[in-house]
């Protein structure tokens, strides 16, 4: 697996897209910091971007890489190496190189600004951790979609739909359900519904750490009670881990029966 991982990282780190992605975050970090002149505010703006952008780039990169390297994967499949090692190597290669672009791209401007002297260091760290989680989650989901669809166009379509659903539609349904069932106690429901969407989960995790939950009203108070504590932090990181583990598990299961 490490052999495959090594070379897929070699390949990806030299790809133009990795640089574009890296420079995008770099520019974004510098611009936000020097316009806002305040680390906490910059973190909030960044969160709004990261939470939508990393899943999108992760899904598209994952699907694109799978279909692009299809022939090469066939060559690898004919080598004396287990199937799941090939795909796990490629999966980790993509997820790690995207994470590297994110962490370096944002890390450099914040370091230059003096993040270590700021009180927002923990918030910024949490932002990078959830961003990385989102990379690993959505690349894994993208691999699941690509493995299940021989047809490239269909695969891309489902991948975009998945992103659209989790980033936009899910929230819409969530809000509608809150309005419709306004008369019932909804705090448990909303807490659980949040767990089922990694994007929402990351957003709320960061928002509540940033201590602006007062803006969120009653539900915000409940959420603060849960997410604001260490228990909440750990259980949401646990939920994010499950979001990585289950798709990866399914990739491995799917591979056992797949024909190439």
């Amino acid at each position: 697996m490490y052999k495959i991982l090594k070379y897929s990282i070699y390949d990806l780190l030299r790809s133009r897209w990795s640089y574009v992605y890296f420079f995008f975050y770099l520019a974004l970090g510098f611009v936000l910091l020097f316009l806002n002149n305040d680390v906490s505010k910059a973190v909030i703006t960044l969160m709004n971007i990261i939470i939508v952008l990393t899943p999108l780039i992760g899904t598209i990169f994952g699907v694109m890489y799978y279909y692009n390297s299809k022939e090469f994967t066939e060559l690898l499949l004919a080598q004396p190496i287990k199937r799941n090692k090939i795909f796990m190597g490629q999966y980790l290669g993509i997820a790690l190189s995207l994470t590297l672009s994110l962490v370096l791209g944002l890390g450099i401007p914040f370091l230059a600004y003096g993040i270590f002297k700021s009180s927002a260091i923990f918030d910024f760290g949490l932002l990078l951790v959830t961003g990385s989680f989102l990379n690993f989650i959505f690349v894994a989901l993208a691999f699941n979609i690509a493995l299940s669809n021989e047809n490239k166009i269909k695969g891309f379509g489902y991948a975009i739909l998945l992103w659209l659903f989790l980033a936009v539609i899910y929230d819409g349904l969530f809000i509608i359900s809150l309005l419709v069932f306004n008369d019932y106690p909804l705090d448990k429901f909303s807490l659980i519904a949040t767990m089922f969407n990694p994007i929402d989960l990351s957003r709320i995790l960061i928002l509540l750490k940033l201590d602006i939950s007062a803006l969120l009203g009653y539900t915000g108070a409940i959420f603060k009670q849960f997410f604001g504590t260490n228990l909440g932090l750990f259980s949401s990181i646990f939920a994010l881990s499950l979001w990585v583990i289950f798709p990866v598990f399914r990739i491995n299961r799917k591979l056992k029966k797949k024909d190439f």
Binding site: L12, F72, L75, L77, A78
Partner: protein, 235 residues
């Protein structure tokens, strides 16, 4: 050397291999022929463990190879389409594949044979289709294995490289290797194949030498003999 028994494979409703039996003795060049969609590639991919058959057995060197992977160290495979990671150099690719196989390799001789020395430090994404196919061939032949599987090896090759390829195939045969080739180019079959395996509707329809085939179909040249085989079944 290879013994395939009662191999079945369906893709959805489409039956591709339908109780195929095949016995291949060690040594010689075997041409696997058949019309488009007759299951040639599927057969090869079953042998390599890329396609998992619904039922049946494949024995290679006295070992049942289904769901195993170590045995692939004893097979060299040339895939139909050559496409490599665009940002790796040729050298890195060679190193990577060597890394994956725990056995000796000799790429140098092949590199000079195909005249690709000047491409070694170039990125694979910048190479032409023909050069990629040459790299593909080098990757296949740089290891010493008893079984060599070539899937449409001539695609995109210039005449000089084609001659080189035929030369390598003959050299490998002289070393006592078993070589399986699928192709649609009958002149190549006529020139190098010792035996023909003809697939039709997922079964072996004919297996024997070129002369036997000509005799059986009462044709004088191979192209017509093969056409005759296809037509006979269709009537």
């Amino acid at each position: 050397m290879i013994k395939i028994e009662n191999l079945h494979k369906k893709f959805g409703k489409l039956t591709v291999l339908d109780g195929l039996d095949l016995d291949i003795k060690s040594g010689g060049i075997f041409a696997i022929l058949g019309p488009n969609g007759s299951g040639k590639t599927t057969l090869i991919k079953c042998l390599l463990g890329m396609v998992i058959p619904n039922s049946g057995e494949i024995i290679y060197d006295d070992e049942n190879i289904l769901h195993k992977w170590q045995y692939r160290n004893k097979i060299n495979y040339l895939p139909q389409i050559a496409n490599f990671p665009a940002n790796l150099t040729v050298n890195e690719l060679l190193k990577m594949v060597k890394n994956l196989r725990p056995k000796a390799s000799n790429a140098k001789e092949l590199i000079s044979m195909f005249g690709v020395e000047s491409f070694l430090s170039k990125k694979l994404g910048n190479l032409s289709g023909g050069t990629k196919q040459k790299i593909n061939i080098i990757l296949t032949f740089m290891f010493d294995s008893d079984l060599i599987i070539l899937d449409e090896p001539t695609t995109g090759l210039d005449p000089i490289s084609l001659i080189q390829l035929k030369k390598i195939i003959q050299q490998e045969k002289a070393k006592g290797k078993t070589i399986l080739i699928t192709t649609h180019i009958m002149s190549l079959v006529n020139e190098i194949a010792d035996e023909i395996v003809f697939l039709l509707d997922g079964k072996i329809y004919f297996k024997g030498s070129v002369d036997m085939l000509k005799k059986q179909t009462k044709q004088t040249d191979l192209e017509h003999a093969i056409a005759n085989l296809m037509v006979k079944e269709n009537v």
